[in-house]
Amino acid sequence: MAASSPTGALRNAVVLSLLAAAGIASYIFIGLDGWAYYATPTAVRGYTAGHQLLRPAGRVGHLFGVFGFVMMLVPVAYAVRKKVKRLREFGSMKTWLEVHIFCGIVGPVFVTFHTSFKFGGLISVAYWSMVAVVLSGFIGRYLFMQIPRSLRGLELTQTDLDRRTSELAQWLSAAMVSERLLHAIDAFEERVVPVGPVSYGSLFRGDRLLRREASALRAAAEAIDGAPAVHDDVIAIATERALLRRRMASLHTTRRLFELWHVFHMPLVYIMFAIVVAHVAVTLYMGYVPFVG
């Protein structure tokens, strides 16, 4: 059920990406005996067995750079997909974002091994920009999830949100629950849904607050009627309604912060690609051509 929603799918994409990154790193460290190479001091690393293979211009190390570069181009394609109208029918936003996240996590892993853990010169600016982009991507993902969306990942309109909250309210009222539990649900929503302007800090604390209060509501329901299994659906509906109302109340703040995030995220992407293009150009000019030797 979680994977079918946009937020659940993104969570799965992150988990899958991290597992893939860990698998690739493990293979390089163990399968290619990379640990022995990367753990050797750079002053003498050039004379180890793995140097010809794993050095940045090596047969495999160079491919790491190519793979990383290509994978880092995919997020750019995601941005282009968002901007170009003719491409909007080309795959759902949810799928694009999942691929964006996957390549945005696995690609830097390849790039990191391409560097052979030597970070110096102008290209290191590109590398650390990439790291900053990846880390900020996690924040962006969180903010993205705070904006209510459809299954295809499109933002819901205010009408959609109102209709959904009223539907949930009707389901709750139709449920045969006691008066005391209804009061407890009302009190739960009052504690979770903010009133008035929402600060940036409370935006990041919201999900945790909601989880904690939902647990408290579940405990209260058990204390009131003593049959928790009966109330699972009621608690789930109440929680979704409270979550929706909270995100609606925070929507303005969320969007504003998301814009600010773009301002930080995108320039780093430009800086990174500008330097990488220069790096690639210089290395090709010097004769370091991948797949050629």
Partner: protein, 592 residues
């Protein structure tokens, strides 16, 4: 906010401006560099990439060799490590930091002999991984394969520059003595001189001008000039103690054990010039026989060994050593000879006086006869074995055959027993002289009536029951004796004791057999029984009931009517086959 395209464009322009500024400042090379150069190439840091890198060709060896001309020369000459090199970066890795190792050498695999043309063998082998021990300069090419490159000359040039004439890498530099061939010098070392340390002759490290024409140049003359000036007439270089003196040419040629004797044993004093009285053995040897033997030592001893002399005991002592005497040690008889092994053989007392040829001289204290048979032991004993096994009683040889043969002398000849006679009173051949009567007087004293000495354990092989009142027949022949003659403890004719009872024994059945019929019939057992079988004979017939056993009753056996019954019988109560069963039909047929 930075969302507008104009702002993004401005940002990119700013970035390009930064790059252009850096390039203008000549730092673009440093910015694009994958890492700092090593100390050796520090001067190339910055925008001098083209010094080493060539567009499209990575790092060009040509450009490296532009600066590294000595290496270029050796490559051109195809010499040394670089003789087949076509590119540099596979061995010399740059951009590995300021401390990057440009001359990394795998000492474990580097073959110094092949690559450098100078084998690190012998004591140099341990330096194979310590390059800096010899290569102290910036370049490996600075070192030259000359000893003086690393070693100081302790001879200060006195022995020339060719160190290898005396030294080799097979041994430590200071151990040249073990490898220097002194035979190439004017004084070849032989014998003990080969074991002498160099310093003993070459004092103060002087190797040239050492006097060697005379032995006394190094050795002190111990003979105070009494012998010839030529030491080699007696001594050789084999060993200082080795003597090549031709003793055979002297009045006392050395033979046998004398050859092994050290000179100083006879020639006292270090100078060996004191006169030796070689005419008498006693001049050197102590007469261990004291006054017992004072003649010529050579009569018994030879120079081969004091121990194994040529002494003939038979002729010279008039007592041939035969039999068991052959293997005896001298001290067994000649008790005055010292057996103390801690004293040297030549110093041990060997006084042979006091020993006589008669047996008692040695065997006096072990005479088992206490002198009863006199002193002529050889009348019975021989030297082959002191046991008188071959002794035969001169009287009654038949008597001493059989079981008597294995009887030891002491069984009969016991001096302390009155019955056993000494030589003056010969023992009687009567059995009772030695044997006690096991029958306690039941039988006569003529034992030989039944017993024989040639039967095992004096068995009564001559006895025959047929001579008694009851000749044994039938089952009695296989009946064990003890069945009728049991071992009893009772009063016998000679005394009360335990013995097999033979008499009185009546020749009646009840003497041995108990009455199983408990007095129902009289004691004339033979009326029904025979010695062949104690069972009632098959031919027995009821004498007074012949008619009764005709017909039907004739098919029945005795036990069909005479069954064992426990009841009162004439001899008492008990279980027995009832004979008197009555003649009424109801006696056997209760239904009647």
């Amino acid at each position: 906010m930075c969302r507008s395209s104009a702002e993004r464009l401005a940002l990119c322009l700013l970035l390009l401006l930064c790059g252009a500024s850096a390039a203008a400042a000549g730092q673009l090379g440093a910015l694009l560099s994958p890492g700092p150069l090593s100390k050796a190439h520090r001067s190339l840091e910055g925008a001098k990439c083209a010094q080493c890198h060539e567009a499209g060709r990575k790092v060009s060896a040509t450009r490296c060799l532009t600066c590294h001309t000595p290496v270029a020369e050796r490559i051109a000459a195809r010499k040394g490590v670089h003789r087949q090199v076509t590119e540099c970066v596979s061995c010399h890795v740059e951009h590995a930091g300021v401390d990057g190792d440009l001359r990394h050498l795998d000492t474990a695999r580097f073959n110094h002999a092949t690559e450098a043309g100078y084998a690190l063998d012998g004591t140099h082998a341990r330096l194979a991984r310590q390059c800096a021990s010899c290569h102290t300069g910036r370049s490996y090419l600075d070192a030259r394969p000359a000893c003086a490159t690393c070693h100081a000359d302790p001879h200060k040039g006195a022995l020339g520059a060719t160190c290898t004439a005396c030294h080799s890498t097979a041994a430590a530099f200071r151990d040249a003595r073990t490898h220097f061939d002194h035979a190439t010098a004017r004084f070849p070392l032989t014998g003990a001189h080969q074991r002498t340390t160099c310093e003993q002759c070459h004092k103060g490290g002087v190797f040239r001008g050492v006097a060697f024409a005379s032995c006394t140049a190094c050795h002190t003359e111990p003979h105070e000039g009494r012998f010839s000036a030529s030491c080699t007439s007696c001594h050789t270089t084999a060993t200082w103690r080795t003597q090549t003196v031709q003793h055979a040419k002297t009045a006392f040629p050395l033979k046998g054990a004398h050859v092994q004797v050290a000179c100083a044993k006879c020639h006292a004093g270090t100078a060996m010039t004191a006169p030796v009285r070689y005419g008498s053995c006693a001049a050197c040897h102590v007469n261990v026989h004291r006054e017992s033997i004072t003649g010529d030592c050579a009569t018994c001893h030879t120079e081969t060994s004091f121990r194994n002399g040529t002494f003939d005991h038979a002729t010279q002592a008039r007592f041939p050593l035969e039999g068991k005497h052959t293997a005896l040690a001298c001290v067994k008889c000649h008790t005055t000879v010292s057996a103390d092994n801690t004293v040297p053989l030549a110093r041990r007392t060997a006084d042979f006086s006091g020993a006589r040829t008669e047996c008692a001289s040695c065997h006096a204290d072990v005479d088992p006869h206490k002198g009863a048979f006199g002193r002529a032991c050889d009348a019975c004993h021989r030297t082959a074995t002191f046991a008188a096994k071959d002794f035969r009683h001169p009287q009654a040889p038949d008597f001493f055959a059989g079981e008597h043969r294995a009887v030891t002398c002491e069984k009969c000849h016991v001096p302390d027993r009155a019955l056993q006679p000494a030589r003056a009173a010969l023992p009687s051949f009567a059995c009772g002289t030695c044997h006690t009567d096991p029958h306690l007087g039941q039988l006569s004293q003529t034992c030989e009536t039944c017993h024989r000495v040639d039967a095992g354990k004096f068995a009564a092989a001559a006895f025959s029951h047929a001579r008694t009142q009851l000749p044994l027949t039938g089952r009695h022949e296989t009946t064990g004796c003890e069945k009728c003659h049991p071992r009893e403890t009772r009063a016998f004719p000679s005394r009360t004791g335990t013995a097999v009872r033979y008499r009185p024994t009546e020749a009646t059945c009840v003497t041995c057999h108990t009455d199983p019929h408990l007095g129902q019939v009289d004691q004339r057992c033979e009326t029904c029984h025979t010695a062949t079988s104690f069972k009632v004979g098959a031919a027995y017939r009821h004498t007074d009931l012949d008619d009764f056993f005709q017909g039907f009753h004739g098919r029945y056996t005795c036990r069909d009517c005479h069954k064992p019954e426990r009841r009162h019988y004439p001899a008492g109560d008990g279980l027995a086959v009832r004979f008197n069963v009555g003649r009424a039909c109801a006696s056997c047929h209760p239904q009647f």
